[in-house]
Symmetry: C2
Subunit: 91 residues, 2 copies
DNA sequence: ACATTTTATTCGTATATTATTATATTATGA
DNA sequence: TCATAATATAATAATATACGAATAAAATGT
């Protein structure tokens, strides 16, 4: 795939309020699906769906821990620098 | 509007291949609609529409120059730093 | 093996996004 | 004023996305 497409995919994936909130939560450390569900007050299916999209786009990964699945940022520094950069400017 | 929504809007606006290419072109300097149209080989209407979306989201602005309209990045540094940051990481 | 807990998937529906086509607007020059 | 060039807008159709409801799958403990 073209580099520009990959870049656009990355940005579009983050360009959703729910996914952005998930990612922000994950900057504080890994969370399982149920935690994301409770913190953001979204349905279990929706949490799982968004996490799947984030995983498909290589933004998060997960490990099984017993019956739960812990999701975490694949590149926390990238995400944090990105958010810092934009948040400084936007408001 | 919530900060998170603004942030998501910003990212979603950039998260489209055509708009991303437009923005990349604009990092090299301002361009009028016809130039964008020719460089990216997209229709005039499409170029104008994408530029409108970029303008609505405060990513570009424009000035009239006779019968043409020159579009330019409102914050070139932000865009350049953003692209640099991501492109370094994204393989 | 069964029940429970946690997560994933499927499906339907509503909404959003995108590109195309056609038309309108705006400024300029003859 | 009229014609032209450049850009904007509107309407449409195709596709994508988001969410909820229901169901399935996977692992654990009894």
């Amino acid at each position: 795939m073209q580099a520009i497409e990959k870049l656009a995919d990355f940005l579009r994936t983050l360009g959703n309020p729910t996914r952005l909130m998930i990612v922000k939560e994950l900057t504080a450390g890994q969370k399982c699906v149920g935690e994301v569900e409770n913190i953001l007050k979204i349905s279990q299916a929706n949490a799982s769906q968004h996490l799947h999209i984030l995983k498909s786009n290589d933004i998060v990964d997960c490990i099984r821990q017993g019956t739960t699945r812990c999701y975490f940022l694949k590149d926390p520094e990238l995400i944090q620098n990105l958010l810092k950069l934009i948040e400084q400017k936007l408001p």
